[in-house]
Subunit: 148 residues, 2 copies
């Protein structure tokens, strides 16, 4: 998983300017295990940048996603972001429905899935949802995170 400096380097390489706000954003994502919604980010950033506007948050999330430093996934309650997992190691995730932290699953079902030759596979998704050890000790208010 990328650290703060790696995120900034990556952005800088691609010609993006490193502003104070982007430095904070990079740090926030580097230090967060789970997913963050634009609102989460806005609220966190807002504590340090009084005049912060939502559109800047959205713009930065979008560029960082396009640039590949962030992953974007759509939960039932909206889109969320997290740092991109290090490239090269294909894996899937267990996602906690409570805290939304993710844990890697290195097993990939794809090779043993029997897909008819007539279907041209582009990508796949395998996600396991539940409650992580920490959250099991606490209560589980109903919260959604995915399907089936």
């Amino acid at each position: 998983m990328l650290n703060t400096q790696e995120i900034l380097d990556r952005m800088s390489e691609k010609g993006l300017r490193i502003t104070d706000q982007r430095r904070t954003l990079a740090k926030l994502f580097a230090e967060t295990d789970g997913y963050l919604s634009p609102k989460d980010v806005y609220e966190y950033m807002g504590r340090q940048y009084s005049g912060l506007s939502f559109d800047t948050v959205y713009r930065n999330l979008r560029v960082m996603h396009e640039l590949g430093v962030l992953e974007q996934i759509v939960f039932e309650d909206g889109m969320k972001f997290r740092v991109h997992c290090a490239a090269g190691e294909h894996h899937h995730h267990m996602i906690c429905l409570q805290c939304e932290k993710t844990y890697p699953i290195h097993f990939c079902p794809m090779p043993m899935t029997d897909v008819p030759g007539s279907f041209q596979v582009v990508k796949h998704k395998f996600e396991v949802f539940g409650y992580c050890e920490t959250c099991q000790r606490e209560d589980h208010p109903l919260k959604s995170g995915g399907n089936e």
Copy 2:
């Protein structure tokens, strides 16, 4: 997969009233293989009901989802609905990125996935995205459907 009458019966059992509009909705979903967005539904229904309003479509989709006759899934471009797959046969789907039709995969990776005992599994998702035979013959304009 439920047919028109089964959908209506199910709704009627639960105390919902069978209006003309709901009859058409049931038929639409019973005869559609892929996913439909609220907008798709609105446009289709609008051809037969001139004064149709969007909120009624949303309300009916919601009720039918809560009732279990429709499945709701969130794509990157919004939520979509389809008839609920017949109960009892656990399976996953291949989803065409072009036409959004789905094809069953009876293989389930869950039993062979090594989940630490400390993680309490609630549900899982395994989806394969690509292009179905029919759509491969045509062009593939960029279209989104899921992650990873």
